[in-house]
Amino acid sequence: MIKLKQISKSFGSFKALDKVSFSLRQGVITAFLGVNGAGKTTTMRIINGILDADSGQVKVDSYDPHKQPLKVRQIVGYLPENNPLYTNLEVVEYLALVAKLHHVSDFPAGQKALFAKMGIDKVWQRHIDELSKGYRQRVGLTAALIHRPKVLILDEPLSGLDPVQKGEIIGLLKQIGKKTTVLFSTHVLAEVKDLCDDVIIINKGKIVYQDHLDSRKGQYLKLLVKFAGTKSKINGLIKAKPQIKLVSLASLKPGLWQADFQILGSKKQQDSLLRFLSAGLADSGIILEFRPESESLSDLFYRLTKNEV
């Protein structure tokens, strides 16, 4: 549904995105994690055609946001960071405007269920500037959902909501996420566990991690290896055993690598694969660390972004 290939973007001398590539599938909710300034918002803006990439390719349901921005915006629901709204309008006026611009013909009757779930019906004719932060967030989310988008891009959608509201909205997003591609940025890792299927971590404009969230719940064995040797050796071992998946590979210094692996298969198979990997690596280099582990999402996030936290 969404494909980014080698996307780069600079603002003056600051490189916001550096060859970012990932793809998002339909019916999957993906958490997009990163510290402030990591490149989350820039990526989301590029997907929606609000910004243009300097290089690389983006496809949203076969449309190019740079060349066909209006087509893309027609199928994307977007909630910007900080949830800007036209606060001088009434809730109904604002939602009617968004519905009309997206050619929603059955507004407002067709969205009654959405309004009720969001609790918007209670503030229907109030000016937005009279609403609490929580209700404003609901209005912003409702506006992003009003045209039943195929793709939903949400920049910090749950900020400002109390725990009850968060629970309700997470429930709604889970339901919507069954058919819709959802990219969801947040700082709160607990929200990710509750809501998301996949996770992408971006740091300093580079994707440093992309995986299924289920793998973090213990279905796969994780393995951290620090290895002095050649990259080609690691690649050779992975090619030989498809059950060993390289999740990330970072160069700590010349000739020194840190690799994250997923080891698939039964316990017995995993043990066998660990032995294969350790023997293969020891054969052509020095293993400095070899740690099978079940690392939590927060541990992973802090490790991958530790220079920024």
Binding site: K71, P80, P84, V92, L97, V98
Partner: protein, 245 residues
């Protein structure tokens, strides 16, 4: 829950801007103050001259429109940038032309409201003596052209600012200088070559043709070209999304 269907489309964007510029207490107050000031200044000389003449009224609005266009336009883009709603606008399936035109049309709606608010004065003057209907039409078209030029320019200026006060002041000052540079007051003090050059882009000389009731084709082309130019420049600026977010 009682649902009502408020306003139709293109109009959606125009209505949004009108709610900000006109359809609120400060909007009506602005119109009222503008009206009162212009009428008060007009009445100062009207009874002294003793003629049912509307030229001074439309001569006065050329200055008032500079303030009004600058004030209205600062809410158009500078305010959207300050409040980050520009990101919402750019995320909706509307083209930069539609965005710019909706704001321009909203501005023109304010102009027509002002002309309507001056209608009682025009009717009153016509009761006091004969008024040339053709000339009144020329005045109205001329003032529309003048306001359109000011407003299109101010819209373009407001795309360069995130601070509404800075946008207002820059627009006000630059429009004032532009208008003044084409008047005899300035051109008489300048070298001939420069004053000739300034005369070619003088708002004053072209607006005067409307005030005397015989607008020239050159005046129509002048205003139309500059309005289109500034609207087009606004669209180009809006397309460079990095610079307006």
């Amino acid at each position: 829950m009682k649902f009502k269907r408020p306003n139709p489309t293109i109009g959606g964007l125009i209505y949004k801007d009108l709610k900000l510029m006109l359809l609120n207490a400060s909007g009506w107050l602005t119109i009222a103050v503008f009206n009162l000031v212009v009428v008060w200044l007009f009445s100062q000389n009207f009874f002294l001259v003793g003629q049912s003449e509307l030229t001074p009224l439309f001569s006065l609005v050329k200055w008032g429109f500079i303030i009004l266009a600058s004030a209205l336009s600062m809410r158009a883009f500078a305010d959207e940038r300050a409040k980050q709603t520009i990101e919402l606008l750019l995320s909706w399936p509307v083209s930069p032309w539609q965005i710019v035109m909706s704001k321009f049309i909203a501005g023109l709606t304010v102009y027509f409201s002002l002309v309507l608010s001056l209608l009682p004065v025009m009717v009153l003057v016509s009761f006091l003596g004969p008024v040339d209907a053709g000339q009144v039409v020329s005045f109205i078209i001329g003032s529309l052209a003048l306001f359109s030029l000011y407003y299109a320019y101010s819209l373009f200026v407001s795309l360069y600012f995130k601070n509404i006060v800075a946008s207002f002041l820059f627009s006000l000052f630059s429009l004032f200088v532009w208008y003044l540079s084409g008047t005899a007051f300035v051109s008489d003090r300048l070298p001939v070559q420069l004053s000739t050059l300034l005369a070619s882009v003088s708002i004053d000389s072209y607006y005067q043709t409307f005030l005397i009731g015989v607008p020239s084709l050159a005046a129509v082309v002048f205003f139309t070209s500059f309005v289109f130019l500034f609207l087009r420049l606004s669209v180009i600026r809006l397309i460079k999304k990095d610079q307006v977010l």
